[in-house]
């Protein structure tokens, strides 16, 4: 395995942990050459505390808490611009997902400036796990009542407009074989806990 200078100089454990927690083949994070193409391509880099390049440098340096407290993964919009441009083919978007999961598991995201994003993901997942489908009205209502009770009025007006145009359902739909999906997800969570996060390669 080719190891960059930055990776070689650092305590490798956190880097290895991140790589191991990223399934889908080798995410190639250790090949990063710190060129900064990722940050230069990122549409939301301006709102990030660290550009992806800086975040990877922190990972190589083993600065675990700083990385998991960073708001950077939560501002990733999953557009894969960095990933297609990366000259080293690092799976950057997948690394961001991994860092979100690690930050949630350790509770460190609460100390970042992006505390809302995990809650939004949790609410979304709740509908998927109970119905097998996403439910936009419930998702938006629950999320905004919890996080912006005052701003929720504006969202209600937006929701009403969607409803008037026939673009929103008032009740969630449930798939037929919910029992099957629940059994699969339950087993997958068990395996994830037993095999280390993500069951990476």
């Amino acid at each position: 395995m080719a190891v960059t200078h930055a990776a070689r100089a650092a305590p490798a454990s956190f880097l290895e942990e991140v790589i191991a927690a990223t399934p889908g083949g080798d995410p190639r994070l250790d090949r990063c050459i710190q060129c900064g193409t990722c940050g230069g391509s990122c549409p939301s880099a301006a709102d990030m505390e660290h550009t992806p390049r800086q975040l990877f440098a922190l990972i190589f340096a083993g600065m675990r808490d700083e990385v998991l407290r960073s708001n950077t993964p939560w501002y990733c919009v999953s557009c894969y611009f960095c990933t297609v441009r990366c000259p080293q083919d690092v799976h950057i978007t997948d690394i961001m997902y991994t860092l979100k999961r690690l930050a949630i598991r350790e509770g460190l995201y609460r100390e970042s400036s992006a505390t809302e994003a995990p809650a939004f993901a949790e609410t979304y997942i709740d509908y998927v796990e109970n119905y097998g489908r996403s439910f936009e009205l419930g998702l938006a209502t629950r999320h905004h009542l919890r996080h912006h009770p005052l701003g929720a009025i504006k969202k209600v007006a937006f929701g009403m407009e969607l409803w008037r145009k026939g673009r929103i359902d008032l009740t969630p739909k449930r798939i037929k074989n919910m029992a099957q999906l629940s059994a699969i997800l339950h087993k997958a969570k068990e395996l994830e806990a037993a095999n280390g996060r993500g069951g990476g390669a």
């Binding site: 991994t98 939004f120 099957q180 990476g200």
Partner: protein, 322 residues
């Protein structure tokens, strides 16, 4: 041509216009859809932010069901569903350990998935690759003359490069070509693959509104009458949040955002009521009224002055010499 169809949660309701127009144009292109029985949500970008293996198992159930129902050629009209399903198939093939664990989870529901047995493509990709521009052109009875359109690909359809590339990941041109085949005037749109903000409208509205503003400004700068999209998230963000952008930035954009299938339907002479019109936040009627019966006069080229530096000329869209 028969395909399995994975509508995804958005096309059930919010992007019903996309679903209806896709269903209306499909038979004219020789496409037959069979909806995947009892499909579940792909998890969008949310599930994988909390759990990895369960997220791949969630998508794995759809792939396993498709294989079981012998729908080996799947079509997803939503870019996010497409990327999630195609990525799961690819990652299970690239990572045997992931494939083993996903299948252990699927076995709890009596399912199994062998990577590579189902090929998932985006609806637009299928039209480009399997139907082809000539077959589309043959169906055009009401060309969209004089309509200036900005072709918006969004981020996911050409990225990441999970399977054989059907277009450039930075500056694709296949949607440009399709819209030209429909008779429309395609404007230059340099930000055509930039992000619409995705779920940031819910999490950090300032971030999302700035990304939406850049797209609207670019389309307006090139005097587009409308933006044409192929993703439900892009449509909702650019259409539904346009007034919010105007309030925030003091702008006055009124750019309708339509699905490419809706414009295909119009050019094929289908009535608007079967193409899901009337659900937009920004009314497309004034823009659609610009469609003329006659083709526009060929654009005149200005001769550069003798003092100007020699510049390469772009090939002309009408096939004439530059």
């Amino acid at each position: 041509m028969k395909y399995g169809y994975y509508p995804g949660c958005s096309l059930e309701r919010n992007a019903i216009a996309y679903h209806e127009s896709a269903m209306a144009v499909a038979p004219l292109l020789g496409i037959e859809f069979k909806e995947l029985e009892d499909w579940n949500c792909c998890g969008a970008t949310e599930y994988i932010s909390l759990y990895a293996l369960p997220a791949y198992a969630l998508m794995g159930r759809n792939l396993a069901l498709a294989a079981q129902q012998q729908l080996n050629r799947m079509v997803a009209p939503c870019s996010a569903c497409f990327i999630n399903l195609a990525k799961t198939d690819k990652y299970m093939a690239d990572d045997p350990r992931l494939a083993r664990l996903v299948n252990e989870a699927l076995a709890a529901g009596g399912l199994h998935y062998k990577p590579g047995s189902v090929r998932v493509r985006h609806l637009f990709q299928v039209i480009v690759e399997d139907v082809g521009f000539e077959a589309v052109a043959a169906r055009v009875v009401k060309p969209l003359y004089n309509l200036r359109v900005a072709p918006y690909y969004g981020c996911l359809i050409v990225r990441p490069t999970l399977q054989q590339l059907f277009d450039d990941p930075e500056y694709p041109t296949s949607l440009d070509r399709l819209l030209r085949v429909l008779g429309a005037k395609v404007v230059d749109f340099p930000v055509k693959t930039h992000c619409c903000g995705g779920h940031m409208t819910q999490i950090s509205e300032e971030t999302a509104l700035e990304l939406i503003r850049r797209l609207l400004k670019n389309a307006a700068d090139y005097q587009a009458d409308m933006i044409v999209t192929l993703c439900p998230m892009c449509q909702l963000n650019l259409d539904g949040y346009q007034e919010e952008v105007n309030k925030r930035f003091g702008t006055h954009y009124r750019l309708p955002v339509l699905y490419f299938t809706q414009l295909m339907g119009l050019a094929f002479g289908l009535p608007p009521n079967v193409l899901g019109f009337g659900k937009e936040f920004i009314d497309p009627t004034p823009a659609l009224a610009k469609i003329g019966a006659e083709p526009p006069a060929p654009e005149k080229r200005e001769h550069p002055s003798k003092e100007a530096l020699p510049m390469p000329a772009m090939p002309r869209q009408d096939g004439g010499k530059p």
